[in-house]
């Protein structure tokens, strides 16, 4: 069982940008209903992609700099990072199969 880990701005570079594995970052906030809705789906994905993708959560309320750096103006936003670069960006909650497809495409590319 692997669960998405909550990280803050200070840890972002080390955990996301310098990671060897692709990282899915879930930008969220406690007051956002759809973010809490998508959370169990992201947890299921974290289990299914264990060993292939790591999953982290960034609270935009506490980490506004990271959010604005990646142009997040709507949450939930899921961004996949590979070798320090954002390679896929999903705004709003989507069906799980669509999230998987997006993740697979991001993993396959380059």
């Amino acid at each position: 069982m692997s669960k998405p880990v909550e990280i803050n701005e200070a840890k972002f570079e080390e955990t996301v940008l310098k990671a060897k594995m692709p990282v899915l970052v879930d930008f969220w906030a406690p007051w956002c209903g759809p973010c809490r809705m998508v959370a169990p789906v992201v947890e299921e994905l974290a289990n299914e992609y264990e060993g292939k993708v790591s999953f982290v959560k960034v609270n935009v309320d506490d980490n506004p700099k990271t959010a604005s750096q990646y142009g997040v103006m709507s949450i939930p936003t899921l961004i996949v990072f590979k070798n320090g670069q954002p390679v896929s960006n999903i705004v709003g909650f989507r069906p799980k199969p669509e999230l998987k497809k997006n993740l697979d495409t991001a993993l396959a590319a380059g």
Partner: protein, 308 residues
């Protein structure tokens, strides 16, 4: 994926207040129950920070808290949840096959509680700027527009709720409405008219959303005078109504002229063993309490159908 087809007594489509209430009833009555939800559990009401008219909560309750509690309650009685989208239903006699994007299930009875999808504005710029200033949820995204000017498009309860929610963050809110009166309930109208931050643009439609990397302004037109104008805004919140989520059901069930499912007072649809509950049903008053009530009625009658 060639998995064996799983069988249930009842399959519920949609995890909003109607589907969750139905699940509490069927699971508690010991019918094996699968709820299929394409997004996350909760339905439209998760967009509401405070539900003030659901009985039992004199202080109000958050839409997400209410529906998460409903989900826990149904799960406790044994309801299973699958996150996938239903793409079709086939009925042959007493057996129904429910197809999802990744598999299929059979059920003796199906309760359709798919609610309604938010309508898009349908203007240039909307798609490009979704997540870059165009939003469909003020409670989610309001905080990104602190001290900025925003527009809300629409005139019903959802639009007014969004405008009031945004007063916590935005410096100025323009409510853009194509008619010269609001459809929202009286108490909401009183609140919005009393708020100094909100201005209403009557008889006005949005023609285009413009910007470079993010939304910068919108082009408007007065539908009576035909005069065009531009309004500088950083955010556009779209709340122009919703449409029953019945796209995949057109060939299966009788629908009314707006696409809502026609059901009788036992909530039976035109196909025996398929029931409809909540906002998706023709004639629904589209509230949480009526969705919950529908869920219970559909569940009890689905139970009778399964046992009968």
């Amino acid at each position: 994926m060639a998995e064996s087809i799983k069988k249930y007594d009842v399959v519920i489509i949609g995890g909003g207040p109607a589907g969750l209430s139905a699940g509490i009833y069927t699971a508690r009555a010991r019918f094996s129950t699968l709820l299929i939800e394409k997004g996350g559990v909760g339905g439209q009401i998760i967009n509401s920070e405070m539900v003030e008219n659901y009985p039992g909560f004199p202080q109000g309750i958050g839409g997400i808290d209410l529906t998460q509690a409903m989900h826990q309650q149904a799960t406790k009685f044994g309801m299973e949840t699958l996150y996938d989208e239903v793409t079709g239903i086939k009925a042959s006699g007493k057996q129904k096959t429910v197809k999802t994007s990744q598999g299929q299930f059979t059920a003796k009875a199906v309760i359709i509680a798919g609610g309604a999808d938010r309508l898009k504005l349908g203007v240039p710029g909307e798609k490009e700027f979704t997540g870059k200033g165009v939003s469909y949820c003020a409670t989610c995204d309001g905080a990104f527009f602190r001290d900025k000017a925003v527009a809300v498009v629409g005139g019903g309860n959802a639009a007014v709720t969004e405008a009031l929610e945004l007063t916590k963050f935005a410096s100025k809110i323009t409510l853009i409405h194509r008619r010269n009166e609001l459809r929202a309930t009286q108490i909401m109208q009183e609140r919005i008219k009393a708020d100094a931050k909100i201005k209403i643009s009557w008889d006005t439609v949005v023609l285009e959303i413009l910007g470079d990397k993010a939304v910068e302004k919108i082009r408007l037109q007065n539908v009576k005078t035909r005069k065009e104008s531009t309004l500088p805004v950083s955010g556009v919140f779209v709340a122009v109504g919703s449409q029953p989520a019945t796209g995949y059901l057109k060939e299966v069930l009788k629908l009314d002229n707006v696409g809502a499912i026609i059901a009788n007072d036992r909530l039976e649809t035109s196909v025996p063993g398929i029931f409809a509950a909540g906002d998706i049903r023709s004639g629904s008053i589209r509230q949480v309490i009526s969705a919950a009530g529908d869920g219970a009625i559909a569940a009890v009658n689905a139970g009778k159908y399964v046992s009968g």
